[in-house]
Amino acid sequence: MTREERFEAEALPHLRSLYGTAFRMTRNAHDAEDLVQETFLRAYRAFDGFTPGSNIRAWLYTILHRVRTDAFRRSRRSPRTVELADEGPAVPPPQDALAQGGEDLARALESLPDVFRNAVVLRDVEDFSYQEIARILDVPMGTVMSRIHRGRALLRQALGGRKP
């Protein structure tokens, strides 16, 4: 198997979930595609340094977040400088659309500040462990827990305090 074939076989199956996360991070298809392309490009270049059999999914997500952070740094808008407004996110409280698919939930998720949304997406949508998330986001475990907590609390607020 060539390096190219190995990469295709191991990394490409994660495209769908990576794209989903990229979309939730950037909130638009165009930026999400760019982000995913750059992520795969970097991953492919660094593939020789990847230990076969270790967690390729977490590795890919780590690169995804690094690419995103670098892009922010380039545009001098840090994703971490987020002010938490006391009045909560600017999303109208949901009516009773919760039962009809996840549209309101998805919109509420979108309204979260980046740091909290990213943590919640990694944990609740992508089902990574705290340890994996800590490595992906390059932050301590305690920070992971606190971000997930605040993200969920904000979602609860956005959903009008009701059960999802």
Binding site: R3, E4, F7, E8, L12, L15, R16, S17, Y19, G20, F23, A29, E33, V36, Q37, F40, L41, Y44, R45, G101, G102, L105, A106, L109, V120, V121, R123, D124, V125, D127, S129, Y130, M141, M145, S146, I148, H149, R152, A153, L155, R156, K163, P164
Partner: protein, 241 residues
Amino acid sequence: MSCDPERVTGYVDDALPEEDRAALQAHLRECEPCREQAGFETALRGRLRALAPLDVPPGLRRALRRQMRSTSPLRFAAAVLLPAAAALALVVFWLRAAPPFVSWELARDHASCFGRSKLPARMWSSDPSQVAAWFEKDGLAVPVVPETVGSAVLIGARYCALIDRRVAHLYYSGDDVNISLFVLPGSVRMEGGYDAEALGQTVRLRRVGGTLVGVVSSSEEAVETLERALTRTVARLDAAP
């Protein structure tokens, strides 16, 4: 234990150390708001996990494969290095037949040979037939050359390596004048001949008989004299029965 909403989150995610977990479990039995939070977060997790996955744009997978292929080292060689080498070869091929380039090469070689403290000839002779015979050993036909050009005398010869070809280099030297006569293999794009000034030297490219020659000297007069001598001998040979 007092309420610690962050730890409730850790509890829901099963991320607490065993002893904290037990303590929190005990707290949840007594605390309604924390129990509610845990219930909400558990339900939220379920809902988020069940969010419809987003569709990958149709072109993305293809774009990734293409991107991968274009970054493979071998593909890089195929896509970049080989065309670059081919382009370079083409440029050299084109230059090789360009009279200005050839003139410059010859002027440079003339200056380099005569610029040394000792002329680097490989064979020393003032006899044109001996010089011609020396080159003929390698199958190179040298036209009939004069023994003297004005005050300059044929003194020797050698092969010189230019950038793109190996040429026969015949040396004439006299009082204050040095002349080079080159016999060039290969072709040069020119009709009749080509005259140039290169690196302070007068350069003439001519076809003598079927052979391409170059004459170089800092003295234009010497160049003309040698050129005339060459064409005369060829004309004489042509006229001979």
